[in-house]
């Protein structure tokens, strides 16, 4: 295909991305260098790094950043631990069952964050199913505070983003023939060794892709931490939301967003490096 034709084909999508994605981002970047005039809602358009200085100088914001980072890391790890066996199990099913299972994996992803999260409120709340069950078994006497704690938020994030881990894993497990496992076994490898020496290295590209997706999604998640955190677990995204829509300090909210963007880029770069390394291995 001629270069011009190719260009025409991608032009609509490229223009759309330019208009609704890149331009707002550039505006955001400029906005983050402005400030609010003290005591007013009007903008001081002289360029300054004051917003960033404020962000990195305040332990409240840094604490929120740290909370967001470690919750994302734990979410990613939990998704990996749950996703690896799940992906392997699904791949080994026969045709129809497999399609059905993949469909079931995708459903939570396409039905939005709000509905399942509200369901989790009922599940994890003080009078919810989990606490109720633990009480009726006599394991606890008063309700465990699951909502408004990082644990509740992490449960919600894992629930929401597990498909992002499982789908890339399925793709990479599908490409590993059963013969590899059997060859390893016939050469004297136990199941654990087969897994560690043969399957895991070959799944690395999928792990990198899934990990990247889950981590980035958790980092920027808003609805889930907002509802399950009940305002007591303040993530970076909810902080930016607060600043923009409650405090109406758009420049500072923009600075928060830019930091998040920088973090995403760093993580994506790391993920890509791991994926490239894994591909070279394979």
């Amino acid at each position: 295909m001629k270069p011009l034709n190719t260009f025409l084909l991608i032009a609509p999508a490229a223009l759309l991305m330019l208009g609704v994605f890149l331009v707002p981002f550039l505006l955001l970047a400029v906005l983050s260098l402005w400030t609010l005039k003290p005591g007013t809602l009007s903008l001081d358009t002289s360029l300054t790094l004051a917003n960033y200085a404020r962000l990195f100088g305040d332990t409240y914001y840094l604490g929120s950043l740290w909370t967001t980072l470690w919750m994302s890391a734990v979410t990613t790890l939990a998704c990996l631990i749950l996703g690896l066996p799940l992906a392997q199990w699904i791949v080994r099913r026969a045709g129809r069952a497999r399609g059905l299972l993949i469909g079931l994996v995708i459903i939570p992803m396409v039905c939005g964050a709000l509905l399942p999260t509200l369901g989790l409120v009922n599940l994890l709340g003080p009078l919810g199913v989990v606490n109720g069950a633990l009480k009726s078994f006599g394991l606890i006497t008063s309700s465990l505070p699951l909502l408004g704690r990082p644990i509740g938020v992490i449960v919600g994030l894992v629930q929401a983003f597990l498909p992002l881990m499982v789908l890339p894993l399925i793709t990479s497990v599908e490409r590993i023939p059963l013969d590899y496992e059997q060859a390893a076994m016939s050469l004297g490898a136990r199941r654990v060794t087969v897994w560690r020496r043969v399957l895991l290295p070959l799944m690395l590209p999928g792990i990198a892709a899934g990990g990247l997706l889950v981590f980035c999604a958790s980092l920027t998640a808003f609805v889930t931490p907002q509802i399950l955190g009940q305002g007591k677990v303040v993530t970076f995204a909810s902080l930016a939301f607060q600043q923009a829509s409650r405090v109406l300090d758009w420049p500072f909210a923009s600075a928060l967003a830019m930091v998040m963007l920088a973090l995403l880029l760093v993580v994506a770069g790391l993920g890509a490096a791991v994926a490239r390394f894994a591909r070279r291995q394979a």
Binding site: Y180, Q182, A184, M185, S186, L187, A189, P201, L202
Partner: protein
Amino acid sequence: MAATPYLSVHAIQKHYGPVAALPGVDLDVERGAFVALLGPSGCGKSTLLRILAGLLDAEGGAIRLDGQDITGLPAWRRDIGLVFQNYALFPHMSVRENVRFGLDMRRITGAEAEARVDEALALVGLDKHLSRRPSELSGGQQQRVAIARAVAIRPRLLLLDEPLSNLDAVLRTKVRLELRELHDRAGLTTIMVTHDQAEALSTADRVAVMQAGRILQYDTPQALYGAPATAFVAGFIGSPAANLLPLSAAGPDAWLLADGSRWTPPATLAPGSAGVADRGDYLMALRPELLSLGERSPDGLPATIKAVEFMGGDRLVHVDVAGCALTARLSAVDRLPDSREVSLRVPEQLPLLFEAGSGAAARRSRVTNNKI
């Protein structure tokens, strides 16, 4: 076999759902032998191989290897080398790492491991590209790596699953010879699964012909060709395979052909001389290479030439005999009769007869020179 065989497979069963892949297979293999499991796809030969390797569980029966019952032993404790059809080389490891994998599993390290890797690679004649990944090698080289990897663990048994099927025709003939040489050099008891009879007959000491999960005949290649036990084996072995001409006995002197016509053959070919009953339906096995064509004569089989295939050194002449398609293999220098209406001449040594219904041999060949 007088002594206990090295490998003894007894009444091994395997079902896939209601289908019996193996209804109960017996097989004895002597130490150092090269055995081929030969049969069409779906005959259960690969299932048997995987059961031997421990990758599939048998539902019944027992396997003894070198005096040890290995029936319930997991694959990783069997010390059985397996070469996969598609080689199954680990793509994330170099050639050397692949070959060393089995040694790693046996905690063999350092100089000893390196020496054993070198030894295995030398055995398959591979000395280049050892730090490359399998994907950078040709199919033939990949196969050598796969064999070296299986041989490096010094297996008690070497299993080859369709080892030549992924190679091109030229390479296949070459590797066939090499496999045999490798077996002789390494002295490994080897079982090869194949659907290609040329592969089985040319490489193995003994061939087990399988059909529908059963071993129909387990014999030397010469015996399979010369004295097939059933009509299936006769119709399977040989290239082209033996013709199976249906006929029924009509008294001691004459046969009835499929279209009801009467054939009065020379006395040596008559039902009476074959010692079969006056009545009954039979299949007469006729090797294409032992047939000849001539002018119509009363004691020859009346045949019509349908097609002639030129094969280089010889010709395949396809004829119709009483509605049955038969093939004769003639040397390219033999003159064909002018007319299409010819006589098919059967050598006057008595051909093998099989019962039409069961396919069992009605009468063993008296001929001792291993020809039908």
